[in-house]
Symmetry: C2
Subunit: 224 residues, 2 copies
Amino acid sequence: MLAYAPPAPSDIRAAGVLPSVKQGFEASLELMGIKMPHARNEEIYGQDEPAGYVYKVVKGAVRTHTLLDDGRRQIGAFYLPGDIFGLELGASHRFSAEAISDTVVLAIKRSTLTALAQSDAVVARELWLMTARELDHVQDQMILLGRSSAKERVASFLIEMADRSKDRNEIDLPMSRQDIADYLGLTIETVSRTFSSMERKALIELPTSRKVRLRNRTALRCRH
Amino acid sequence: MLAYAPPAPSDIRAAGVLPSVKQGFEASLELMGIKMPHARNEEIYGQDEPAGYVYKVVKGAVRTHTLLDDGRRQIGAFYLPGDIFGLELGASHRFSAEAISDTVVLAIKRSTLTALAQSDAVVARELWLMTARELDHVQDQMILLGRSSAKERVASFLIEMADRSKDRNEIDLPMSRQDIADYLGLTIETVSRTFSSMERKALIELPTSRKVRLRNRTALRCRH
DNA sequence: CGTCATTTTGAAGACTGTCAACGCGCGTGG
DNA sequence: CCACGCGCGTTGACAGTCTTCAAAATGACG
């Protein structure tokens, strides 16, 4: 529900592509890319800018967002090391991308990939697969934003983040409360209050404001 | 190369020009598909069912949705004649699909398309493009659900529907208020009240509950 | 140790949801 | 032909959640 889980092996098999081929594709991405460092809060690309590159997070964290005319902000996704972002089929980016913390990304020329896809069905399918994963994620987010309470949104966010971290019960949040709020369609105050409430109920621990430990996953999952 | 093709597909592809190629692809879809009628509220496919077919609406209207455990429903999208739905990269459908009114859809075997895509880069790109268009729409929906008021949601829905109908200011809604509510993340009462309020402000006319005329697009668009 | 950004907490208010009743259109059957 | 039931839509009153506005607390950093 956050950015993308690493490609599930079953997807790869369903695609009729062997894991080794997939590894080969991801590996060749590394070779085609150029490492670019970005300071905290630095823009990687802007909304409506031409989409010349696809990116892979090497280190740090990235958020994508759109701004509405009156300043309201919706965050599209958070990307952690290993995640790919910025892949568009249209000419321009629909969201802006920024480094959340000091970040290194690998930038790969889009034209290189689309040229490859012209002659290589495996590459074409990989590109499609990336877009499809993005779609899955946004669909989950849509359900979350359309049909759940503040507590459910925060719980869902924490569980997803936990599942993506090494220790599946301890999270180091790279993003601020404001980022979380704009991701979940809430205000910063509601997010903060929900964190506090969860801590009082012993569902989580908050050693620091950026570190969360899950104490009761099942209770987190349930409604209310 | 698989022969899906009516007249000289290779020529069309060689031309490398988008509109004509696109027409060729869409036209060939028609030939590959089987027409299937579905009565009002009939299920076309269920959530988590294997995704064996891709569909194109010929007549009527279709909605996709997911149900949460406690009965809350989120509608993913509405599909009108000409729209394609049910294209998945994974093995199964993430949403259910149902006929809103009496509907005819064209069902195309997914395996046919993916086989074609193996050998034909243009087909591969078309499939990717369909997923990308779906992504665009869901991203818009995400912004809507995350960051806007009931009035903005209803206004956005009406403008979207109007732009899809023949007369861009007159809409025949195939779906119920409940469907609209579950699409916009609202309750049926809020949707109904918002319609009424817009009518009082002369933003719209409601000749019947299923027919809407836009009277002031610009006022509809603005915040509040 | 002071400053600034971030986070937390508090109180009041707005918006949407909930529950309930009523109205409307339409097909069925007496 | 009209009464009735039924699905759907509208309206009202009230409650609850989340937002807004405000201020205090915490933490990072020079």
